[in-house]
C-alpha cells in the first residue's frame, strides 16, 4: 500500500494568488494512498525541504508529490531532499502548478480545480513508480582529434596539457592546415607560419599526443566515454623509423611537374614530397597517383638514392583500432574554385585566382618567394581587382550565407599588394564590408585610407580577356549603379568558404548532424556552440561554419575544456530515464518478438540484438536490448514497438495510463 505525501507550495504569491493552495492540500489528503498532505509558502526553502524530509522519516512515505513550479526549475532540489531522507529520488514527482496553472489562468474555482487535477494525476502515477538507479558508464580518458589545422592543433595541445592522452589524425602528409598556407594574418600582419610552426612542433613533441598524419577515420562505434575508432593510416611508402628526412629523394625524383596542393596549384612538387619545408612530420610520402613507379612500373630512383633504405614500395594501408572517450572534429573548410564561376572565366584565365592562391603568391615561402607575380607570364600586375562575395551571399549560386573571413583577408591582400607593388593600383568590389572584430574595422580603414586601396561598392558581372588584359565589368552602386570597366592585370576572387568534400560522409560515420551546406551542426547556436547533438563529440573551427583564426582557436580551447571536464570523472552518471525491453521468466524470456522495428526507428543507434541461449549455448530467441550508454530516452522505440515490450523508465505504459485514467475518473 502506497504512503504518499503531497506538498503544495504557494511560491510566495506566484501560485496562491490564483490557486487556493489550502484547498488543494486538503483535497489531496483525502485520496487513496495519500497519508500526508500540507501546504507551505516556499517549499524549496530550507524549512520547506525539512518538512518533506521529516514527513518521509516520520510517516514512512513511499512517494512524494511536490506541487509547485516546473520540474525544470526544482526537480533536482526535491529529488535530492528525498534522497537525503532515504527515499529513492525517482519516487518524487512534481506537479507544475505555477507555469501550467497559476501563471496562465485567472483566479477562480476552475483554476483551483485544475491544480487539484494536476496533483491527482501524479498521485495516481506515483503508485506505479519504481526505484531507479542512476546509470554509471566508465570513461576512456583518451581523446581523438580529427584534423590537424590550427583548430585541431589547439584542441590537441589543450587536452594534452590537462594530462590526458590525445590521438590527432590528419589526412594530409603534414599538420598545419590552411593556416600554414597563409602569408600574413589580419589584423596585425604578423607572419602566419612564424606563429603556427612552434605549435606544430609542440604537437609532434608532446608526450601525450600521438600524431597520425596521412590518416583518416575509417569507422566509429560506441558512445560517450566508450568509443572505438578505426583509423586508416594511408601508406606513405616509406619506413618512417628509418627515414631521416634528408630530402635527397625529393630532389632526385624525376617527376617534378605535379601541381603542388600546398601552393594551390601555383607551384609544382615531385611525386615523393614533403608538402612544405616546415612540415610536421618532416618526412616525405609518395603520391601513388603520380609516381612513375606506381603508374608505369619503372623508376625507383628514390629507392636508389635513399641513404637509409627507407623506401617501401610494397607498404600497405594500415588500420589502427583505438579506444577513446571523446572526439573533437576539426576538419576545417575549403574554398570554391574559380571553375564555379563561368562569368568570371570558368577557370580558363590563369590570372583569375582565388584568395588562397593569392596567399601563396604573397607568402615568402610561396612559388614567387613573396613577390606578387601573375601566374600567366610572371609579370608584376600593375592593376589588380579583388572581388568580394564570389559565390557567398548568392542565392543563385546556392550559397546564401556570408563566408565571414573574406572582407578581412581582402583588405589584407590589397594592403600587402600595395606594400609590395609601389605605384600599383588595387580595387576591391564589395557588397558590404563586414569587419566585426577586435581591431578589424580599423584594419580595413587603414587599407582604404593609408594604403589607398580603391573600394568600389558593387558587383562584378563579367570578367573576360582582351589583348592580354582582364576586362572586369561591374557597377558602382554608390554612383547610381554606374557601369565600371577596369582593365586589370590580375583578379583575385574571394571565393566562398564551403564545407570540405566528404564532410557529409564523415558526419554520417560519426552520427553527428550537419546543415544543408554540410557544415557540422552545433547542439545549440548560442549556448552549446562546440557540442554536437551526439554526446562526447565536439566541434572546433571552420568545420562548423566559416571561421577566422582567433575564433577557431577559441572554439578549439572551448571544445578542449569540454573534453577535459568529461575526463575529470572516472564514471559518467546519467539519468536512468531510458528505454528498457522487458524480460520475463522462461519460457517466454521477453514479450519482444524480435522484429527490430525499434532498431530502425532509434535515432541514436542504441538498440542492439541480444541472443537468448539455453544451457547448451543454442540461440532460443533474439530480442532487442537497449544500450543504456547510448539511449537518450526519446521514446521513439516505444511508439514503434508492436508488442508493447519497451518502456521508458519513469514513463512506463502503466504510469502514463494511470495518469490518463485519473483525469477521466470522477472523484
Amino acid at each position: 500500500m502506497s504512503k504518499i505525501g503531497v506538498f503544495v507550495c504557494h511560491c510566495g504569491e506566484n501560485i496562491s494568488a490564483t490557486v487556493d493552495c489550502v484547498k488543494v492540500a486538503e483535497t489531496a489528503g483525502k485520496y487513496d494512498g495519500v497519508t500526508f498532505s500540507i501546504d507551505y509558502k516556499y517549499m524549496c526553502s530550507d524549512p520547506g525541504q525539512t518538512i518533506i524530509k521529516n514527513a518521509i522519516k516520520e510517516k514512512g512515505l513511499t512517494g512524494v508529490v511536490v506541487a509547485s513550479c516546473s520540474p525544470r526549475m526544482h526537480e533536482p532540489t526535491f529529488r535530492k531532499a528525498c534522497a537525503e531522507a532515504g527515499l529513492n529520488p525517482y519516487m518524487c514527482e512534481m506537479a507544475n502548478l505555477r507555469e501550467h496553472c497559476s501563471w496562465v489562468h485567472e483566479k477562480g474555482e476552475e483554476t483551483t480545480e485544475k491544480a487539484i487535477d494536476l496533483v491527482r494525476i501524479l498521485v495516481e502515477k506515483i503508485k506505479y513508480n519504481q526505484s531507479l538507479d542512476a546509470i554509471k558508464v566508465p570513461v576512456t580518458k583518451t581523446a581523438l582529434v580529427i584534423g590537424g589545422g590550427i583548430a585541431g592543433i589547439q584542441a590537441s595541445l589543450d587536452i594534452a596539457n590537462t594530462g590526458h592522452k590525445v590521438i590527432l589524425i590528419e589526412k594530409d602528409p603534414s599538420i598545419g592546415g590552411h593556416m600554414s598556407q597563409l602569408s600574413e594574418t589580419f589584423p596585425t600582419l604578423d607572419c602566419s607560419q612564424c606563429i603556427l610552426t612552434p605549435r606544430m612542433v609542440e604537437v609532434a613533441q608532446h608526450p601525450d599526443i600521438t600524431l597520425y598524419t596521412y590518416a583518416e577515420l575509417e569507422s566509429l562505434e560506441g558512445f560517450i566515454g566508450n568509443f572505438k575508432a578505426k583509423i586508416r593510416r594511408k601508406s606513405k611508402s616509406i619506413d618512417e623509423k628509418l627515414c631521416t628526412g634528408c630530402g635527397l629523394c625529393t630532389t632526385k625524383c624525376p617527376n617534378k611537374k605535379i601541381p603542388s596542393e600546398f601552393n594551390e596549384g601555383l607551384g609544382t612538387r615531385p611525386a615523393i614530397y614533403v608538402p612544405f619545408p616546415q612540415a610536421v612530420p618532416n618526412k616525405p610520402v609518395i603520391d601513388k597517383v603520380n609516381c612513375t613507379y606506381y603508374t608505369k612500373g619503372k623508376c625507383r630512383v628514390c629507392e636508389k638514392v635513399c641513404p637509409t633504405q627507407a623506401i617501401r614500395f610494397d607498404q600497405e594501408d594500415q588500420i589502427v583500432e583505438v579506444e577513446i572517450g571523446a572526439i573533437v572534429i576539426a576538419t576545417g573548410f575549403t574554398v570554391k574554385q574559380p571553375d564555379f564561376f563561368p562569368e568570371y572565366g570558368y577557370g580558363k584565365y590563369p590570372d583569375v585566382i582565388t584568395g588562397l592562391q593569392f596567399e601563396r603568391l604573397a607568402s615568402a615561402s610561396g612559388p614567387t618567394l613573396g613577390e606578387i607575380k601573375r601566374p600567366s607570364d610572371g609579370k608584376i600586375p600593375e592593376k589588380i581587382v579583388f572581388v568580394a562575395c564570389a559565390g557567398s551571399r548568392d542565392q543563385a549560386k546556392g550559397i546564401p550565407y556570408c563566408s565571414k573571413i573574406c572582407c578581412m583577408y581582402i583588405a589584407k591582400h590589397a594592403m600587402l599588394y600595395q606594400h609590395k607593388v609601389h605605384g600599383g593600383k588595387s580595387y576591391v568590389f564589395y557588397m558590404d564590408i563586414r569587419a566585426g572584430g577586435k581591431m578589424y574595422e580599423e584594419f580595413v580603414r587603414r587599407a582604404i585610407e593609408d594604403d589607398g586601396v580603391n573600394y568600389v561598392r558593387g558587383r562584378i558581372s563579367r570578367i573576360y580577356e582582351k589583348n592580354g588584359k582582364l576586362i572586369v565589368n561591374g557597377a558602382d552602386t554608390l554612383l547610381n549603379a554606374m557601369p565600371v570597366e577596369i582593365e586589370a592585370d590580375m583578379v583575385v576572387l574571394a571565393t566562398a568558404g564551403v564545407a570540405n568534400e566528404g564532410a557529409e560522409e564523415l558526419a554520417q560515420k560519426l552520427h553527428v548532424s550537419y546543415d544543408p551546406y554540410h557544415f557540422f551542426a552545433e547542439a545549440h547556436p548560442k549556448l552549446k556552440p562546440v557540442e554536437t547533438n551526439t554526446a562526447g563529440i565536439f566541434l572546433a573551427g571552420a568545420c562548423q561554419a566559416p571561421r577566422d583564426i582567433p575564433e577557431s582557436v577559441a572554439m578549439a580551447s572551448g571544445a578542449a575544456v569540454k573534453v577535459a571536464a568529461l575526463f575529470s570523472q572516472d564514471e559518467l552518471t546519467r539519468e536512468p530515464l531510458i528505454a528498457v525491453v522487458n524480460r520475463q521468466a522462461a519460457p517466454v524470456y521477453s514479450s519482444c518478438v524480435g522484429c527490430f522495428l525499434c532498431q530502425s526507428a532509434c535515432p541514436y543507434q542504441a538498440i542492439e540484438r541480444e541472443d537468448i541461449k539455453n544451457r547448451a549455448g543454442e540461440v532460443i530467441k533474439s530480442v532487442a536490448k537497449v544500450n543504456p550508454g547510448l539511449c537518450q530516452g526519446c521514446g521513439t522505440c516505444v511508439a514503434f514497438c508492436r508488442t508493447k515490450s519497451i518502456d521508458i523508465q519513469g514513463y512506463t505504459h502503466e504510469q502514463v495510463y494511470s495518469e490518463v485514467m485519473a483525469l477521466l475518473n470522477e472523484y
Partner: protein, 280 residues
C-alpha cells in the same frame, strides 16, 4: 509523331526567314510539323509588366490549344515565346489557384502535359542524331554562338546547360563542321526592346557583342532569337557607328547555318532577307 509549331509574331513578320529555315530543316529530316491552329500572342514583354494573370493566360491558351489539337510536343523557335510558355508551365504547375483562374479566363482545359521545346532542344532531339549523314558541305567557318538572355534565363526554370557560359549551340555548330570561338559575350545584353525606343543604346550594347566577336576572328554570328537577330543585323548601322568601322559579319539563325551545311537552297533559308549580306 507530329511536332507542334508555335511561330509567334516575329516568325510571321520581321524574322520570317527563321520560320522558313526551321521548316526547311525539319522537312529535310522528315520531321512532321503542324502549326497550332488559332494561336495567339504569347504576351511577350508587355503582358507580364501589366497584369500577372493575363501574362499567364495568354501562353496557357496556346498550350491548351496544343493539347486540344492532340499535340504532345511543340517547338517554339522564338526565344521570348519559349520563355513565356515555359515560365507559364512552371507557374501553373505550382499554383493551383492561378491555374484555375487562367483556365476559367480561357475557357479551355489545361493539364500542362504539352512539352515545350526551344530550337536547340528540338534540333538536339530530332536533328543531331542524323546530322552527320546529312551534311554535304561542312560549315567551315569560325562562328560566334550568341545565346542572349531569353533562352537561358531564369536558370531555375529553363535549366539551360550552363547559365553563364552556355555550350549547346557551340556543340551543335561543331557537328556541322564549324569552329566555334571561345568568347565572353555569349549572354551579354543585345539591347532587346530598346531597339525601338533608344536605338543608340542598342548600337552600343550590340556593338560590344559584334566588336568582341570580330576581335576574336568570328566570320559568322549564330543566333536563336528573333530579337537578337534584329538587333545584331538590322541595327548594324548604329553598331558600326559605335564601333567606328564597318563590320560586315553576317548574323545567321542556327537553322540557316545548318540548312547551308545540309545543302539547302539559300532562298529556301531566306538568306536574302538579311540586312547584312550573307556572304558565306
Amino acid at each position: 509523331m507530329t511536332l507542334g509549331f508555335y511561330p509567334g509574331c516575329s516568325l510571321k513578320g520581321s524574322s520570317r526567314e527563321y520560320a522558313e529555315s526551321v521548316l526547311a530543316v525539319a522537312n529535310a529530316f522528315d520531321i512532321q510539323i503542324r502549326e497550332i491552329t488559332d494561336w495567339n500572342c504569347c504576351g511577350a514583354t508587355a503582358a507580364h509588366n501589366m497584369n500577372r494573370e493575363l501574362s499567364f493566360s495568354l501562353p496557357a491558351r496556346i498550350l491548351s490549344l496544343a493539347e486540344k489539337q492532340g499535340l504532345q510536343e511543340i517547338v517554339v523557335p522564338c526565344a521570348a515565346c519559349y520563355s513565356r510558355l515555359t515560365v507559364t508551365k512552371h507557374e501553373l504547375a505550382k499554383d493551383p489557384v492561378l491555374k484555375n483562374a487562367v483556365t476559367e479566363a480561357n475557357g479551355l482545359d489545361y493539364s500542362g502535359a504539352v512539352e515545350v521545346l526551344n530550337i536547340i532542344q528540338m534540333l538536339n532531339k530530332y536533328v543531331t542524331p542524323n546530322l552527320e549523314s546529312h551534311v554535304v558541305r561542312q560549315f567551315d567557318h569560325k562562328v560566334a554562338c550568341y545565346y542572349g538572355c531569353y533562352l537561358i534565363r531564369p536558370h531555375e526554370i529553363l535549366k539551360f546547360d550552363r547559365e553563364e557560359d552556355p555550350q549547346s549551340m557551340d556543340e551543335l555548330m561543331l557537328k556541322a563542321g564549324a569552329t566555334p570561338i571561345d568568347w565572353a559575350f555569349k549572354t551579354e545584353c543585345c539591347g532587346a526592346g530598346l531597339s525601338v525606343s533608344r536605338t543608340a543604346s542598342v548600337g552600343r550594347l550590340s556593338g560590344k557583342i559584334i566588336g568582341d566577336a570580330k576581335d576574336r576572328g568570328a566570320e559568322v554570328m549564330i543566333v536563336a532569337c528573333p530579337m537578337c537577330h534584329s538587333n545584331l543585323d538590322m541595327r548594324r548601322n548604329s553598331i558600326n557607328e559605335y564601333l567606328g568601322e564597318k563590320v560586315d559579319i553576317p548574323v545567321l539563325y542556327i537553322t540557316q547555318a545548318l540548312g547551308l551545311a545540309i545543302g539547302l537552297e539559300r532562298k529556301v533559308l531566306g538568306l536574302q532577307r538579311h540586312f547584312v549580306n550573307v556572304t558565306v
